[in-house]
Structures are given as structure tokens and as C-alpha cells.
């Protein structure tokens, strides 16, 4: 972020497309405060009624994993096929399982 106090901070925008669904990240925008971020998000991301609810989160508060670490970071899951239901052999004829 720039040090210039007149530069608006960046906000990450999350939109809930339909009641009951989760809020999904759609992008980001600059705004002077949260209220303005919500209103701008409405104008940028919900012009065609894409949204039912908006969350804004200051980008500086988002911490992310490092893509370059992805291989070693996620590899503990690689050899655990038994976490999936298809790993198990069900006896012939058994239903609803």
C-alpha cells in the first residue's frame, strides 16, 4: 500500500449470489471506508443482480499461502486415498451404502 493518506485502501469483495449459499470471492476495489466499499461493490459486481449479500474485507487483512510452496504444502494428502469412499470394497448386494 502507498503511504499517501489520500490513496484509498484496497478491499476484497465477497458476494453471496443466492440466500443460503456461501459468500464467494469475486475481486477487489479501492474505497475510502467499508461502507463505500460495499456500495462500490454493488455497482461493480452486482449490476445484473448477481448478488444478495456483500462482504468486504480490507485486503491488508488477507494472508495467503505461497503458491511456490504448493507441492510440499499439500503433499501430505497425496497418499491418503482412504479418505475417499471409493477406496472401500462393499459386499455384493449391499444397498444404500
Amino acid at each position: 500500500m502507498s503511504d499517501n493518506p489520500n490513496n484509498w485502501p484496497l478491499w476484497e469483495i465477497f458476494i453471496q449470489s443466492k440466500r443460503g449459499l456461501e459468500h464467494k470471492h469475486v475481486g477487489s476495489l479501492h474505497a475510502a471506508d467499508p461502507q463505500m466499499a460495499i456500495e462500490n461493490a454493488r455497482d461493480v459486481y452486482t449490476r445484473r443482480q448477481e448478488g444478495n449479500s456483500i462482504w468486504v474485507v480490507a485486503s491488508q487483512h488477507v494472508h495467503a499461502s505461497r503458491p511456490e510452496d504448493a507441492e510440499s504444502f499439500y503433499d501430505p494428502a497425496d497418499d491418503k486415498a482412504y479418505r475417499h469412499p471409493t477406496f472401500y470394497t462393499m459386499p455384493e448386494g449391499a444397498k444404500y451404502i
Binding site: 440466500r19 482412504y82 475417499h84 444404500y96 451404502i97
Partner: protein, 313 residues
């Protein structure tokens, strides 16, 4: 004018229109209280539910079974977490919710107050206990409170291997030596009735059910879910050659369901009241783990503070 009556009408209209209620929406106090109790009990059940199975992690019969059991117990810890987060959206602190479990004020599913005596119990738990829980959880994927429903969708996806690994254990034992088959049958005998109790009191004795249905927190009654579970499980037991321990069990051609015996509700009430075989052990184990983990929580905060200070310098 929006008085409470009016707000309640708006709230009920949303529910009737199959819309989810979100944390910041207005909701009746009783709805909030009801859900805080239900979701926190559900969370506690996931967490306490790790104990009976954890008992067999070090003694699983093979490395494969050990890895599977570890993965399952690890999933249950995650389920506890999703649900505790859902409780937090209702404005109750995580600490408070966990304190209520540790002090014995909050309840959790009574099934976890039974001991796991043999390896076959791990099979019976996956097959029957997770099987019964799944019935309830599939229904709750459509519950009216948004954060609870979304947690359930995730949980149901993860649950799908739990029941299968348990049934597979039972199938393998039932095909094994006479001793192994007997062990599987014994586990089924001990877990069958407590599993049926998991669905809760009969509809006639379940005074809050009507309100929960009206609010669409629940969508099927205890007796309905219990019957579906019985119908499915009897077939699965037949396939692997085990016998359901109920002399009154009989297919009813008219209703197209199994008729079955009666649950010993005195036993159920006793376990709920704290007098089951393992109630004290479970609560003691949770308290011990919590107390012995205190230094880890403190150390993590101290380390984070130290890192922040170093970054600022």
C-alpha cells in the same frame, strides 16, 4: 411499525419460502436459543466421539486400518470445528461453548458414553453410529440456518467414507474365522439399540419437535429417520450374514417397513442423566486434554507476539 409480532411474521415467511436465515437477520430468541443448544451439542458430540475410537488407534490390526482410523478421527475433529464456528455466528464465544462441555453443563450424544471393547466395535461404530449420524446430517443440509446448513454439506461429503470403512471392517470379520464372526456379532449386539436411541425420543415424547419442524431446523421426525435407518441397516446386516439383535424384527408387507421391538428408554434416560458406562471417563478425558493443552495455547500466543515485535523492529 415493526413490532416483534411483525418481525416474527417476516421471519416465518422467509422460512416458509425456503430461504435461509443468516447470522445478521432478525430471529426469534427461542430460535436462536434452540439452535445454539442443538449446534453446540452436535459439536460436542463430534469432539467427544473421537474418544471411543481413539481408544483403538494404537491397537488397530494393521497399518492400513490404523491410517484409516486416524483419518476418520481427524475428520471428526474437523467436524467439531465447523460446528463450533457455526455456534459462534450466533453470538456465543467459543470459550463459553467449550466451558459448558467441560463443566458438564452441555450435553453430547449419549452413544459416546459406551465403551469400545473389541476391534469389531470400530466396525460397528462406523457402520451404525456414523450411519445413524449421516441420516440426521443429510436432513440438516437443508436446515433453515445458513451457517449450520453449509457446515453440514461439508460434513456430509467427508462422512461418506466413515460408514463404508466401518461396514467393510464388519464384512471382513463376518467372513473371517468363527471367532472373528462372533466378535462382529457381539459388537452389533451391543451397538444396535444405542444406535437406534441416537435418533432421540419417540415423536410422541418429543415436545420441541413440532416447533423445530415449523422453523425447518428439522425436516423429518425422529421416528421417520429411525425407521429408514432400520430398513436400510437390516438389509446390510443380511448381506454380511449378521443378525440384528431384535426378536420382534419382521418385514411388514403392508407398510413396506420392518416392524421392530421397543427401545429401553430407561437405559436411554439413565445415560443422558450421566450414569452411562463411560460418562465420567469421557468428561475427565476432555478436561485433561484441555488442561494439558493450556501451555500450547499460551506458547502460541507468546510466539505470535514475539514474531510481531520482531517484524515491527
Amino acid at each position: 411499525m415493526t413490532d416483534v409480532k411483525n418481525l416474527e411474521d417476516i421471519f416465518q415467511a422467509k422460512i416458509d419460502a425456503e430461504q435461509k436465515i443468516e447470522p445478521k437477520d432478525w430471529m426469534p430468541d427461542a430460535y436462536r436459543k434452540n439452535l445454539i443448544r442443538q449446534i453446540s451439542q452436535h459439536a460436542h458430540s463430534e469432539v467427544v466421539g473421537m474418544l471411543p475410537e481413539g481408544n483403538w488407534i494404537t491397537r488397530a490390526p494393521s497399518l492400513k486400518r490404523k491410517a484409516i482410523l486416524l483419518a476418520k478421527v481427524q475428520d471428526e475433529a474437523g467436524h467439531g470445528l465447523y460446528l463450533y464456528s457455526a455456534v459462534e455466528t450466533m453470538g456465543v464465544s467459543r470459550e463459553q461453548t467449550i466451558d459448558d462441555l467441560l463443566s458438564g453443563k452441555a450435553k453430547y450424544s449419549s452413544i459416546f458414553n459406551y465403551p469400545t471393547l473389541t476391534w469389531a466395535d470400530i466396525g460397528a461404530i462406523g457402520w451404525l453410529v456414523d450411519g445413524a449420524a449421516i441420516m440426521n446430517q443429510v436432513m440438516l443440509c437443508r436446515t433453515s440456518y445458513g451457517p449450520y446448513a453449509r457446515a453440514m454439506v461439508r460434513i456430509c461429503k467427508e462422512e461418506s467414507f466413515h460408514q463404508r470403512q466401518g461396514y467393510e471392517i464388519m464384512a471382513v470379520l463376518a467372513k473371517g474365522t468363527p471367532g472373528q464372526k462372533e466378535m462382529a456379532q457381539d459388537a452389533l449386539n451391543r451397538w444396535w439399540w444405542p444406535s437406534l436411541m441416537m435418533f432421540g425420543p419417540t415423536d410422541a415424547n418429543s415436545p420441541h419437535s413440532a416447533q423445530s419442524m415449523k422453523w425447518k431446523i428439522k425436516r423429518q421426525s425422529n421416528d421417520e429417520l429411525r425407521q429408514i435407518f432400520i430398513d436400510r441397516t437390516v438389509q446390510q446386516a443380511e448381506v454380511i450374514g449378521l443378525t440384528i439383535p431384535d426378536p420382534d424384527l419382521k418385514w411388514n408387507e403392508e407398510t413396506k417397513h420392518y416392524d421392530w421391538g421397543t427401545i429401553d428408554w430407561t437405559e436411554f434416560n439413565n445415560v443422558v442423566a450421566g450414569n452411562g458406562p463411560c460418562n465420567k471417563e469421557r468428561l475427565a478425558a476432555r478436561n485433561k486434554a484441555h488442561n494439558e493443552g493450556a501451555w500450547v495455547r499460551e506458547a502460541a500466543v507468546a510466539y505470535a507476539a514475539k514474531k510481531a515485535k520482531r517484524k515491527a523492529a
